[in-house]
Assembly symmetry: C2
Amino acid sequence: MKKGHQVTMKEIAKKLGVSVSTVSRALKDSPELHPDTKKRIVEMAKSMNYQYNLLAQSLRISKSKVLGVIVPELTSHFFSSNISGIQDTAYKRGYNIMICQSNENYDQEKANIKTLVSSQVDGLLISLSRETKNYDHLRELYDREIPFIMFDRVTEEIPVSKVTVDDAHGAYLAVHHLLEQGCRKIAYISGPEDLYISKKRKEGYLDALKEYGIPESESKVYITDLTTEMNRKVTLDMLEDKERPDAIFAMIDPLAIDILMVLKEKGVKIPEDIALAGFTNNPTSAVIEPSLTTVSQPGYEMGQIAANHLLDQLDDLVSDEPQSFVLHTTLIPRNSSKKIKTK
Amino acid sequence: MKKGHQVTMKEIAKKLGVSVSTVSRALKDSPELHPDTKKRIVEMAKSMNYQYNLLAQSLRISKSKVLGVIVPELTSHFFSSNISGIQDTAYKRGYNIMICQSNENYDQEKANIKTLVSSQVDGLLISLSRETKNYDHLRELYDREIPFIMFDRVTEEIPVSKVTVDDAHGAYLAVHHLLEQGCRKIAYISGPEDLYISKKRKEGYLDALKEYGIPESESKVYITDLTTEMNRKVTLDMLEDKERPDAIFAMIDPLAIDILMVLKEKGVKIPEDIALAGFTNNPTSAVIEPSLTTVSQPGYEMGQIAANHLLDQLDDLVSDEPQSFVLHTTLIPRNSSKKIKTK
């Protein structure tokens, strides 16, 4: 699709040390800018052989009033909360949304972008699939100056705005809580190691251990592919280990629930024998027995912030300069870990 | 939008007593038809002043290879299963899907249809919002000959294909099971009475009672708006009633789970004091304590059947005549109702 390199507004902005929105305004001949600035930018654009991107222009001008959203999966409570936040915000501002799911599949993600761009959405909100390691499809979007931002599953390689939660701190809160309850042999059961959240939550896990003087060499990390089958197998293997842990921090709630079921089946008392904490705050976690200690992620608020920021960019209310929004997580202590009373 | 009545292929088909797809083929000058049939249809179309619908034509000819899906809500496990079935099927046949949710809101549903049609999807799969009582937006789609089918939340007023589950029979299975366990004072806790599933599941409830010689006058129906607050209130009120039931059939699993939590809080033994059954087979139902007896709806299969049928229609592999697919439900007995062993 690429026919030689097309100069972008971003490159002009970089060359002159001004913001992209200043370049954009200059090229639109906005009266807000000083004539000298405008002249300087227009001349630079000419000298760089800048061609005003017709597609991006038509996207910006003939607004469809629709945003496209791409999420890895819709069965996840977290992503459906994101979507609710995005939709409510978009609706209030006169926009509708169309959603595609990648099913954690890279090719599907590329197809989704193509589908939504062909549908002439005004902008995109994207959360990456697990499989996505190559970002050329995002680079192409960026080069074509199609407005988009990323949320939750993001990559640092593309300079657009990002909305994430403070994963490492959330994990730290959960593990710190387990330590406060008197646990010292705390295992971390993690998803695939190359996942962003696997790494970030491991960071928080290790930070909390360190604070209590437990070195990384004494940490216990188990890996699962997050299927129920493998989650159960890892838990059973862990119970066979010579040094059985006295607490488990599970990377996500669905994994924590699989672990909880195995522990109950094996007659392991929760939290007396093994305390347990998850991360996500799924609806099931509150009603299971014992109720699951977890870390709440503000999924709905993430969606609101992401949609408002993208719409602010589209309406030129904020600059196009990439922003990073990092939302806080909250510990929700429940019966699966509260040991203090019984000591 | 309507400028006088436009004659449709359906009307021509009705007039001649042939199928819509025969009319469609005749107007496309298909070689499969007998020249006499073709002539008869073309003449009738002319005499009725039929105007070949340009939008529908462009939709049919310049295929976007995208289907639009509208569901009431994405947080529901059932609807996200439908979507997975639709997406996997569409993907296998070279199509992508774009999804909109109505949030159970009629205006949002209308906006979604407009958005997806403007995006030139090849066809639509629609599940109605709770609020939808007026079907003009669907009638307009039908009149414009934009291909669509309905699933789960359907209306009989629009003659398009429909995919539903056998709600009444599923409810019958659950209540019949409670009766088999020896329960005789069985309450039905229902959502809003005007909902299609409220009515259908009540039918099944009454059928089962009747089979055991319990007249409708002895049935006990409680109504909730399905919010957790109201679900809890209705359950508490029911426990105060003079004639406390010995079993409860809850219209959907999330309601059953709210009821279960109240019963546990109040020290009511499940199933010894009150047996409980739900309907949906949500993931939580299997892991809650006691595990919840429920009726499984084949959500994924529904999505597969709906997508395959719509794509078959688009590819002229089946006629456009409306079909009704009714899928079976299955009882999943679990600990919340199994009393036989203890008797």
